[in-house]
Structures are given as C-alpha cells and as structure tokens.
Subunit: 329 residues, 2 copies
C-alpha cells in the first residue's frame, strides 16, 4: 500500500495563456462567442493571434491552475500534463514548480509546440478562450507514474482533456489505478461545449460510480442532467456521486454530499478584472478544505475566497499567498 | 529628401520581460542589488530563473517600451531590434506590432535565443533587472534600413545597447544617416552602470554635438558629469545638447533647452505596483509632446502621466489608451 503524500494529483492541459483585452466589437468581428472556449487549429491560432492586441503571458490550464491554487493555499499538489521542449514549455514547467507543485512529466520532443490559450478579456471582465492545445493533447498513458497516482488522496481530472483520444485513455487508466488503491476521483466538467460532445460518456462515467467528487457550474449541471431546472439537475446528479459541487457565478456556490447540503453567497469584490480561472481556483479552495477535514460550508468559503483573488487581476494563477483563507475558514 | 513619416524610430534591446515578485531576502540570497540592472550569461540566467517564483511575461526592452508608449499616446513610432525566430521572438514581434509600432527587423536564425530580462519586483515596487540579452546584442549594421531612419523626425537610442560591439556600431551608423538627413538624435543613458563602463565615450558623443536630446535620471546625470551636485551636472551637460531631460523619481522631472527651463512634480498615484518602465514611458510622453509642438512643461506633464500609468501595474507596456494624456496637456 502506497503512502499518501499529495492531497491532490491532477491530469490536465499544460498550456500558457496569452491574455489580451478586447472590446465586444472585436469578438463579433472574429466570430467569437463571449464566455466560451473553443479549440483552434494551428493556422486559426496564428490568424487570431495576429489580430489580437498586445498580450501578457502567464501559465494556465484549468487543472494546472487548480493545483497552483492548492499549493498557494498550503496544500500538497502534483500535476501531470504535456508540454514540448520549447520556450513556452519551460515557462509552464518553471511556473508550476516555482509555485510548489510537483511536476515531473517529461517534455515531448515530437515537434508539436507547447499549447497556448488565446484569451480575450472584455471590459465586463468576461473571458473568451481560444485554445491551441499543441503538445497538451498528445499526453498518453506512457507518462503516467502509477506510484505517484497511488500517492495522492484525490485524483483530479478535467473534462477539457477528454476531447483528445490519447489523454482520455490516460485519464481512464489513471482512474483505475486510483480506484484500485482506494483513492478518490474528482472530475470537473470544464465547459458546457464538452457536455454537448461527450454527454453520454460523462453520464456513463458518473453512473458507473467512478467519480467521487463532481465539479460543475450551473449551466454544465443543467446540460448534463438535460433539464433547465437547476434543482432537478442536482437531484438527478447528486445521488450518483459522493459529493457534487456547483458554482453559480456571482450568486455563490453549493455542495451536496448525501443528505448534507451547504451553500454560500459569492464574495463581493470591488473591481473584477478578469474572470479567467475563477472556477479553477474555486475548486482549489474546496479541495484544500476537504483535504483538511473542513465542513462543506467551510470548504465552499475557501473556494470563494480563492476565486475572489483570481478575478481581481489578469491571469489564472494566484499572485499572493492564499494560506490565510484556510486559517480564516 | 525622404519624407518624414514617423515621429520617432528607436534602436534598442528586443527582450521579453519575465516578472516575478520577490522579497528583500531573496535579493540578498542571490547577491542582487535592488534597483540595478545587470547582464547575465546564459547559465546565470538559467540558475536565477530556477530560483525565482512563478512569473508573468510581457514584452520589454527600454526603447521598445518607449516606442510602445508613443503609439499608445497616438504618435507614430518604429523600432529596430533583434529577436530570434523562436516563441519569445514571436511574442515580442506580436506585441510591438499589435501596439501599432512599425517593426520590420527580420528575426535571427543563428541559434542564439530571444533575449529575456528577469525582473524581480519587491514589495516596495522597486524592480531589479537581470538581462540575458541573447539575440538582442547580435544586432548589426546589416539590419539598418537607411530610408526608414531618414523617414523619422527623431532617432532614439538606448545606452543599454551600447554595451555590445555590433549594436554600438549599428547605432553609430544610424546616427550618421539621421544627421546627414537633418534628423534629430535622442539618447537615453539607461542605467548608471553603463556610465561606469562608457563614461568617456558618452562624454565624447555629447561633446561632438551628435546628440540633440539627452534623457537621464538624476543619478545618471551626476555620474556623467562627475559631480554629486545635480545643478552643477545640469550646468555642465545642458550646453552640449539641444535639450536635456532629467527625471528625479518621485520628485518629478525637468527639462532644459538653451535658455528655457521647465520642471514639474511627479503625479501622485495611490498604489505603485512595479516601477519597471517608468523612465521609458516618461520619455515616450515627452517625445510625443515635442513631436506635437507642445511646450517643455506640457511635454514633461505628458511624460509624467504616461509614467504614472505604467507603475500602477506589472509590466512596462501601457495597458490603456494613453491619448487622453496628450489632449489634457
């Protein structure tokens, strides 16, 4: 039996975010749907980048952001994801390790560059994401370290990576390793567009009892359940997972675990700059709360605090030490 | 006779800034002098980067920042500088072009990567810069486009680039092209460390009448003149240039042009985040003022306004449209 040495190990997209501000007009001209995520072919990424304004780069990736958040909150996190042996790959590897996250996946050398997410932030602080996944979607079962998976209390998976075949196989293999070792499996639905593509697979996955903790936002929960009624969606999904966590944007968040239920309001912050990473950091806070044996409500509060920090600046990686949030809970 | 189509054309370091926060303790451990700039060998850069915290990347380079500022202020700017044909080179080229600056220098393919500046920002908002110049210092006379130089009212040169032989030769050649076409030459002293290395050359350059506008901060002006007394330094330097502009940090700035003299206080801003680029953006504002026929005092005010914007966020490239500053002056 392996010893547990990590609170959470994630498998996710390893990408660098390229963040520019844009107005609504620009989104319309480029045919982009505000708030959405879409996957770009290399030539589409080149074209959009050429049209975008001056940008700043920060490491990103949904589950990677969550692991960076866990480390910033004082938890022990690991990350599995594929970058290329190029400059942006170095940036990604530097940032996640410098944040204190274990990251040991060797960089790929097959010529496919490190993935990027071109993010347009409109004046209303909404983010529209355009991902060129590059090397990230070449992740395969080869890179899995079974001992590392067994060494984490929770395996955390992002639906963004479900799109591509090789990473999907790797995530399925990792889930089995985790389950066989008695570890918990957490899954985030990531984006409503993925539910359109993979709804039945996700329903089967949840129905099989493979998912202990499911993270979703309101829209994703409704789409997964196939109903417009959030309460009905929760009533349908919650019994199939040990714990269901649903974020409701500026209206707060809720968690259901068996008979137990908790909800909290969102934290009001003066100036929302960029909502990128809000869900990722919310998950980080909730997971740290759970790892430290906090109640559902306390875990939700830590999540809300971490989300509030991330939306107060550009970029989805924490800029300050978040440990006081855990102490305050 | 070429037509003038640019307000300013700069030759400078083409680098990407890698910005992390750090405490004073870290600077001491790494043997760094707060507020200074030093040039790193590749292995030193690798070592320091590995020790630094998570970072964000934005395009940088002193004169390049100034040109980006001029474009953000509504002026017409061009930039000459060398990046490599790599990912960070693409980032640099994208950002400066997306800002509206003419940038046509072809990327180098000799294997030396695009330059980086590792910037540590302490809680007092001071920046300590560690530059790995890479391709930037391979710039040579080959890349100069004489027609482009003749097409700019002012040629702007940064002393940072004076360190390396090939770019120094390129800057000297460009000065001659500009002077022969009756254009003005502006020079910024960049950093006190450069005066220690090149004082006599700079004095000879100024003494020869080759410099029309000289930009310096207080410490640089004193070091160049070889006196601790700022008034004495100004009295020594000012008669040798058509215009001398001296920034005095939080105490404002002054300009001397023959018998004319103006000075202004700094603009008070609530939260100084990162002082990187303050001098660069000050120069941008002053140059735009001069290009638009504003008075010395008005030009200083535009410079102070642009500097105030840049120190309110991480990174040395403007994040907002700065044109209202020019209208206000």
């Amino acid at each position: 039996m392996s010893e547990i040495r990590l609170d959470v190990l994630a498998i996710g997209d390893a990408v660098v975010d390229v963040i520019a501000t844009a107005d609504d007009e620009f989104l319309i001209q480029e045919g982009l749907v505000k708030g959405s995520m879409r996957v770009l072919a290399p030539e589409e990424a080149t074209r959009l980048y050429a049209h975008m304004g001056p940008a700043r780069e920060t490491s990103g990736g949904s589950a990677a952001n969550t692991m960076a958040g866990i480390a910033a909150l004082g938890g022990k996190a690991g990350f599995v994801g594929l970058v290329a042996a190029d400059q942006l790959g170095e940036v990604f590897a530097h940032d996640i390790r410098a944040q204190g996250v274990e990251f040991a996946t060797p960089a790929s050398r097959d010529g496919v560059p490190t993935g990027r997410c071109l993010i347009l932030v409109t004046p209303d602080a909404q983010r529209t994401m355009n991902t060129f996944p590059g090397a990230a979607h070449r992740l395969s079962t080869d890179v899995l370290d079974h001992e590392q998976i067994r060494g984490a209390a929770i395996l955390y998976l992002e639906a963004y990576l479900w799109r591509a075949e090789a990473p999907r196989a790797a995530m399925k293999a990792a889930m089995k390793v985790a389950a066989d070792a008695g570890r918990k499996v957490a899954f985030t639905l990531s984006d409503i567009a993925l539910i359109a593509l993979h709804r039945q697979e996700f329903l089967d996955l949840i129905g099989s009892g493979a998912i202990d903790m499911l993270f979703a936002n309101e829209a994703e929960a409704r789409a997964l359940a196939g109903t417009d009624d959030l309460d009905a969606a929760i009533a349908m999904i919650a019994p199939q997972v040990r714990m269901l966590v649903v974020t409701c944007g500026s209206r707060g968040a809720m968690a259901v675990a068996g008979e137990e239920r908790a909800s909290i309001p969102a934290i009001w912050i003066e100036e929302v700059v960029d909502t990128t990473g809000a869900g990722d950091l919310f998950a980080a806070g909730f997971l740290v709360g759970q790892a430290q044996g906090k109640s559902l409500e306390q875990s939700l509060r830590i999540g809300a605090g971490a989300a509030a920090e991330i939306i107060s600046h550009f970029g989805a990686r924490p800029e300050v030490d978040l440990r006081p949030l855990v102490e305050a809970a």
